[in-house]
Symmetry: C2
Subunit: 338 residues, 2 copies
């Protein structure tokens, strides 16, 4: 089959590789209908050293069950399925506590940008979808794999509710879907901190009530100005740089919550400026299985269309161009049809 | 009147100073029956530069209302009262949200180790107590001012409940009362990380189910060993040093909460080791007025006796010796009877 490989920063290639096979009785093989390029893919695309044999790519996919191991339950060949960006048994103590990302038999996918994918722990991982292969909902359902679930988890961990004011830092797909999530959780006031004004329209459509385009300290000052000097109860930090965390500290109201969707730094300020104002810091890799039941109905009934974050569609051959376009921020998020 | 002054590290003195007077119609004057030495006092005692005119001392007090400003409501002269370590109007938006420590008309007390104290915002600050001046409950009621409230707030912010396993780092008064608080909130398993074995007895009496006396990495390893390698759902960090925060990171279970009662460092590790394991960091100065109704009944009905943390009682003249004894860890917490 054909699959995407990364050999070092900026070097993405399409290759012929052996088809995956069932290795464990708990595995399934899924034919990938749609995959996408996400933040972790881009991070590796920007930073991976050119050493070693290269790595397959892709954490987000949706497809059709082709083969099932003998111990897989709850699905059959031909079912349409989407998977979290992690696999998990969904039965261990961490899974039962709703932390499937720490499953005792789990791990992260990294071979989704391909024609076929082997899915470990298929019973606990694959989510069957009540739609056909030709459904127009597939791009939105694909966002359950990561971008929508990640934005929603951040908002949920921050306890966003109708009494909460929210700032979202970041206008990538996750940031925009964090806006949508905050809106779905009832927030009446959602400030979107964008890097480029071009992402404003989708942000507004998803529920942003104000957009801040100023950078650095000016952006912080603008958010405070919009909130009588106090900041917002919640800041959803959807960039992951130290600089954006520092901005979040300036934008959050005393007693508030900073909820992160990613992190590319080690140390940061958590002294009196955090403690003295009773700021809570939360977030982490989203346990999709713990929240998918809250997100699926809204997509199926058309109440939300998170798939609008996809503004560019490619075949496998054009995936290298897709990485480049996303990296240059020429496109928001790339959908792949293998 | 006589009052305690600090002129620089290690230099505490008893002095004659002018009696406080009503300055605002919202003030009250309270005659101090009991005060105590707390963590912030000790921090200043260890670190304050010997410059300037010196500072009065004391954040924790309980006493009798002597004078009331014309706008004070809800109490009368002669009432026995205790105050949080902060004053607050208890009516502003932050107070209504339960964050009295960020009150728009609030501040921190620092003149409690004296015969009399002026209390700003008396209506929102003073908590009247249904006991007499000779009640044996006074020391326990005094812990509402800070130590018990701080320990309880940390546990409550971490959502300690009957399904939660807890580690408490720190065997000072706040750490021990965090153990009591976790126990009151139903935690079945409470590991107390002590610095000295001597504090073990009171920790056990307050509800600790295991005591760890090993230091540094050995202490972390011991907590993990006691929890099948996973750590506890909650770590209540009641020391405030960077080293103890690092220990907390090693002791907390994926998906867990580190709740801090103080902080004496600026930056710390909050990268993938925090984010990737979905760790939440919370805590802050305790908004006593928001939780006192949950703590007062248990003291009044004798269910708990947090005043047991006081193991040394002094008059004002002996307060300098009291600071020294607490600093040397010869005593746990000093009660002052002016």
């Amino acid at each position: 089959m054909r699959a995407i490989m990364l050999y070092g920063a900026w070097d993405v290639q399409v290759e012929d590789v052996p088809d995956p096979v069932l290795e464990e009785p708990t595995d399934a093989i899924v034919r990938v209908l749609q995959a996408s390029i996400g933040g972790t893919d881009l991070y590796l695309y920007h930073t991976m050293p050119r050493t070693g044999p290269g790595t397959p790519m892709g954490r987000e996919f949706l497809g059709v069950v082709e083969e099932l191991g003998s111990e897989v339950r709850g699905m059959k060949k031909g079912d349409l399925v989407v998977a979290p960006f992690t696999y998990q048994d969904n039965t261990c103590d961490f899974c039962r506590e709703g932390l499937q990302t720490s499953c005792r038999h789990g791990g992260f996918f990294n071979t989704a940008q391909a024609e076929l994918i082997r899915v470990p722990q298929a019973t606990g991982t694959l989510i069957t979808l009540p739609v056909g292969e030709d459904s127009a909902l597939l791009p939105s359902l694909l966002t359950l794999a990561d971008a929508y679930s990640t934005g929603y988890y951040a908002a949920k961990q921050a306890n966003v509710n109708p009494d909460t004011t929210v700032t979202v830092i970041g206008d990538g797909a996750v940031g925009l879907l964090a806006v949508l999530s905050a809106s779905r959780l009832g927030a009446k006031r959602i400030i979107l901190k964008v890097r480029h004004e071009t992402r404003t329209e989708l942000g507004n459509e998803f529920g942003a009530t104000a957009v801040v385009a100023e950078h650095g300290a000016d952006g912080v000052a603008r958010v405070r100005e919009l909130t009588d000097g106090d900041g917002t109860h919640v800041v959803l930090e959807a960039v992951g740089y130290r600089e954006s965390f520092d901005q979040a500290l300036g934008m959050v109201r005393p007693g508030g919550v900073i909820s992160r969707v990613g992190v590319q730094y080690d140390e940061a300020e958590i002294g009196w400026g955090v403690f003295g104002r009773n700021i809570t810091l939360t977030g982490g890799p989203a346990p999709v299985q713990a929240i998918v039941d809250e997100l699926l109905p809204g997509i199926l009934d058309g109440a939300v269309e998170p798939g609008k974050v996809f503004d560019h569609t490619v075949g496998l051959d054009e995936v290298p161009d897709g990485y480049q376009a996303m990296s240059r921020r020429e496109v928001l998020k790339v959908l792949i049809r293998p």
